[in-house]
Symmetry: C2
Subunit: 349 residues, 2 copies
Amino acid sequence: MSRTPAGTGRAARVPTTPPTLADVAERAGVSRQTVSNAVNNPDLLRADTLARVLRAIDDLGYSPNRAARNLRTRASHLIGMRISPAQEGTANATMDRFVHSLVETSREAGYHVLLFAGDADDPLTGYDDLLRSTAVDAFVVTDTYLGNPQAAWLEERRAPFVAFGRPWDNPAAEHPWVDVDGAAGTDLATSYLLDRGHQRIAWIGWRKDSWIGEDRRSGWSRALHARGLPTTGLASRVEDTVSSGAEASAVLLDEAHPTAFVCASDTLAMGVLRTLGDRGLVPGRDISVIGFDDSQVAQVVWPGLSSVRQPLEDAAVEIVTALEGLLAHPPTVGPGVMLTPTLALRGTS
Amino acid sequence: MSRTPAGTGRAARVPTTPPTLADVAERAGVSRQTVSNAVNNPDLLRADTLARVLRAIDDLGYSPNRAARNLRTRASHLIGMRISPAQEGTANATMDRFVHSLVETSREAGYHVLLFAGDADDPLTGYDDLLRSTAVDAFVVTDTYLGNPQAAWLEERRAPFVAFGRPWDNPAAEHPWVDVDGAAGTDLATSYLLDRGHQRIAWIGWRKDSWIGEDRRSGWSRALHARGLPTTGLASRVEDTVSSGAEASAVLLDEAHPTAFVCASDTLAMGVLRTLGDRGLVPGRDISVIGFDDSQVAQVVWPGLSSVRQPLEDAAVEIVTALEGLLAHPPTVGPGVMLTPTLALRGTS
DNA sequence: TGCTCACCTTGGAACGATCAAGACGATCCC
DNA sequence: GGGATCGTCTTGATCGTTCCAAGGTGAGCA
């Protein structure tokens, strides 16, 4: 069979136009509106009519044109989420898990997730355009680690959004948010170690300007203080890199002689493991280590890094629930939701 | 100030309708079409008119309504991509990096990425609906590891899509695809080890039903054969888990006495590292190990796992280029694109 | 038979953009 | 000077859906 010249094309090659409401209506012998009702308000139709229409829909493989529906209803059923570049050299893989949970949960609620990127320096890139062109119904704002300019900006424009991360710098913020209680997580980890007899538990966390870091740190100190134990000299605040964790743990081992480490991240915990290895200390037997985030690294490394695991699946569910409330008529905005992490125990503790 | 009762609301609370083309037209004293041209075909306007219209657009903060534009132009400027659940307990973090690259590159081409989920058992979930409702212009199909039913299905429906992964089971497939040459990667890794004097290099890969696994394996055997070295007894095919890698490497060490390992994944390589640790062997000094994918695990583990790194950023660029060709008028579909991975060298080699 | 009522169904008008074609000077050329 | 051409802008129709208000139909009742 010879190829027909470009331009004319075979009939089958012509991109056949998808069926429309009118096509279905004609086939079912009813009007457009009846088909629309069959799709959106089936209760309004007599049973046999409904069946006939559904049959026609099925026969033709009809699915409502999203653009037309969006235009009429002023809703896109799309949720925008900005993603920032993955950081190389760290164990931060929470986004992967969270994004997937969000996509999954959104689907059940009839929404899709639209990703967009932005410049690292300007946290507002992308939001503005998507908002004004009514491309998305709402946003999920995730990167709230250093204050939250997006939240203030979106709130000002009355754009519907839910933050994953509490409004650290503005406790009076009125937007819905969902967060994981980092302090509860480190408290859990620290208390677990205390229960196993540890008395000197060190902390390696992030620099003081990180709200999340300070929150996680507070769980560690809270747990120690609750048992009347001191924290002095047992804490270190460094960059979130493996080598920083290694150096900090070396110093702490020399100066404070801890028997266990709780870390603000798995990245830092990996640094601790490196130092232990260098000194011939066996993690889990000689020194216990617990990280944070339950990354793939924690799951794969030998002998398994114990870690605080964020309930990202639950977070996604809560976020979608909040979004649904926000987009309902009238909108309902509930209070912030705080979730408690769990402990994934492995060989290092 | 007392709150006005619900329903009436203050003026500021009323969700103000975004400006439309007509608003801009009125403000600029021109017709709708002229505004449309100012946005889409600026060359058609006289300079002063253009300036006046742009001014009005800026004043009003106008941005074309996506739904309306989509309806008229029959295009959504959205690219659909299905994501499958992240696998726990493995080091497969390539998706994270790829998705980000894709989002970034798409943006430059004027596209956004829409994520959707599907059941693990039915690889077609989601595609159908998005396609029929014309919600996306095209798809990026990623999970082509076991044949590729989506590709055949989409091709049959003449849906525009680009596959990340070559059409293993159908070399005659006519759809555009982009892939990374796994064999070249493992060849690179093996040859590197050979250059460093290794003679007995073992392979730990996946079960035989994995096209990708066999491809990667062929690079290893190719490199050995090129130097006249045998492969017999040096290969093992197992599940993609850490413990499988550990067991396989233990057996290989006992029976074949290799001095180096090349693995089909970082997960398997982590298993090798565990076995080496158990036996008091130092990776990089006593035995070299090279993994595949350059996951976060490889970057974070001590002493750094050498790994074959896929050029995912380049892949995203190629994919978007192919998509643009596919969506152009008339569509142009180029040949498949094969990219060569690089070697990320670290402590284990 | 005539009336009401409930229940479906119907045609027309948005939604906000682009497409196709037309209007209107000004310019050009023979 | 008249007709064709060009550049610039305007007008009316259209994309496919949902909203709106009115129209039909049959059952139930007096």
